[in-house]
């Protein structure tokens, strides 16, 4: 197989081309509401700040941030799983707070700083300490929940650089892991914060 055409790149290419199709189609979008009230109605073309970059993007009024990130901006690191705010796979940081991107209107965060898992590694490709710690502790099993777990952990370490294992457990409690690798993720958080594992306590 051509090394340059990996499965991931192929899928990203398909997404990018369909984004182009969607945006050109939506130029013909006609506002079907009664038109009686115009007070405060949103502009569809907005500027989002994602991972420190300004991105102009055309967003439907009812569009969720997870859809905007994945389908319009090609940032597929943010996973959609339950799509109902019940699993945490889509967790992103909005002004340093963890949000479920599947349950956040894109328009409601247009003035805020959005940080996704793609924004964690440094410009030179060095992994974020938490990413490195998760690798060293073998935290992910299947890996699907990992971007969400990472973002929740990043939010925690930003507000509290040396959390106890119990604090880490609470901070990551909004992220489900079907492999049940919760303890391994906590090991990762403890390692990234330069602490011992502090195992032994369970329960919230």
């Amino acid at each position: 197989m051509n090394a340059k055409l990996t499965r991931r790149r192929f899928i990203k290419g398909v997404i990018a081309s369909s984004v182009a199709a969607v945006s050109s189609g939506s130029a013909l979008y006609v506002n079907a509401a009664s038109g009686a009230v115009h007070l405060g109605i949103v502009e569809r073309l907005i500027t989002l700040t994602v991972n420190g970059r300004k991105r102009r993007v055309d967003v439907l009024p009812q569009e969720m941030l997870a859809d905007t990130l994945r389908k319009r901006l090609g940032l597929t690191g943010t996973k959609i799983s339950c799509n109902r705010g019940e699993c945490g796979a889509c967790t992103v940081l909005i002004d340093d707070l963890a949000y479920y991107a599947c349950s956040t209107l894109t328009h409601s965060v247009s003035a805020k700083n959005i940080r996704t898992v793609e924004g964690l590694q440094a410009a030179d490709g060095t992994l974020h300490p938490l990413q490195q710690a998760f690798i060293e502790e073998l935290s992910p099993q299947c890996g699907f929940c990992t971007p969400g777990q990472l973002m929740s952990a990043v939010a925690l370490l930003q507000s509290s650089p040396k959390p106890t294992r119990q604090e880490a457990r609470q901070a990551l409690s909004g992220n489900l892991c079907r492999c049940g690798a919760y303890e391994q993720y906590l090991n990762g958080v403890m390692r990234a914060s330069g602490q011992k594992r502090q195992t032994g306590k369970t329960g919230l």
Partner: protein, 330 residues
């Protein structure tokens, strides 16, 4: 029920002042849906179980957010998030009961966006109703939960009137126990109502959980707090999971103490009635008694007096009794 990834087309309004929001809400009336954190809203709209033509997003209105010391206590803006409330030093100092209740809601991510007004004004979680079935509450002529085959483990013990759904909020019982008042704005101005009277049961209005009408917006919540009075509080939530889950039963207790005796008691449970349920018999029993295991035993016997259990929720009676016992043993 078919599952959808996205919500159907709606308009979105983002007013930045309360006046604009009230004008929009009253002009659009039942065609609009008020959104703050949206965590109760998006599920309805994605599932197509309810629909709306427009959403009015309130989180851009600065005057609706924040926690302030007022002359008689604390004033909390309607869109203040549950995380802000749980972390507020002022609340931890003066009304820790509300902080604890906010800390027990859903998951960290939901608390980061979920507002206090949204938490108290949320709709019930009865899954038959949430599924979009045409039950009494949805305008039909049947209650699916209260049938011989109905799954009603999470449903009510008190106040059933055709509908057996419960109030799922964690902060609502705390606000009722604290004697809070709620300020509501509409086109005729501001109205203040006691938290206890904000909620309505199915006997009063089966289609709504509270008195809010289309065109009305919660502006703020006032909680009286006097640092001079010695108040003991207790909050406990029992749910199947520690995170996300709604309470099977929760209890919020506020006890004013003087010389070791309880002078005024408020016991409020959610998860047992369509509105926060005050345990008035327990409150009367506790007055002028010392908190301790003797009072706890007597009060526990009165906790679930008058309960009418359904097929699968008898366990809630024992839960209420045990929660009252633990609150008084403290």
């Amino acid at each position: 029920m078919s599952a959808f990834d996205v919500m159907s087309d709606t308009e979105l309004y983002q007013p930045v002042t309360v006046e604009d929001a009230v004008v929009l809400a009253s002009r659009l009336a039942e065609n609009a849906w008020l959104v703050a954190g949206g965590q109760d809203t998006y599920g309805w709209l994605k599932d197509r179980a309810k629909n709306t033509q427009a959403m009015i997003e309130l989180s851009r209105i600065p005057e609706l957010s924040g926690i302030k010391r007022s002359a008689s206590g604390i004033e909390i803006g309607a869109t203040t998030t549950l995380t802000e409330i749980a972390n507020s030093k002022l609340i931890q100092q003066l009304i820790p009961l509300l902080g604890e209740a906010a800390q027990h809601v859903a998951s960290p991510q939901i608390r980061n966006v979920g507002s206090i007004a949204g938490n108290i004004a949320q709709d019930t979680r009865c899954w038959y109703y949430r599924r979009g079935l045409s039950c009494y509450r949805a305008g039909g002529n049947l209650c699916y939960a209260d049938t011989p085959e109905g799954m009603n483990r999470e449903h009510c013990l008190f106040g059933a009137s055709r509908c057996v759904a419960v109030s799922p909020s964690d902060t609502a019982p705390a606000l009722v126990a604290l004697g809070a008042t709620i300020v509501i704005a509409d086109s005729s101005g501001n109205h203040t109502i006691a938290a206890e009277d904000f909620f309505v049961g199915p006997d009063i209005d089966i289609t709504r959980m509270n008195i809010l009408k289309p065109g009305q917006i919660i502006v703020s919540i006032h909680i009286p707090a006097d640092p001079e009075i010695n108040v003991r509080h207790y909050f406990e939530k029992v749910a199947d999971r520690n995170v996300w889950d709604f309470a099977l039963v929760n209890i919020a207790v506020s006890l004013e103490m003087q010389a070791g005796k309880i002078t005024k008691a408020r016991f409020v449970c959610a998860g047992v009635d369509c509105k926060p349920y005050r345990l008035k018999e327990v409150e009367r029993y506790c007055e002028n008694k010392a908190a301790g295991s003797e009072t706890a035993e007597g009060a526990a016997r009165l906790a679930a007096k008058g309960a009418v259990p359904l097929n699968h929720n008898h366990f809630k009676i024992a839960l209420m009794q045990n929660l009252v016992r633990r609150a008084l043993r403290g």
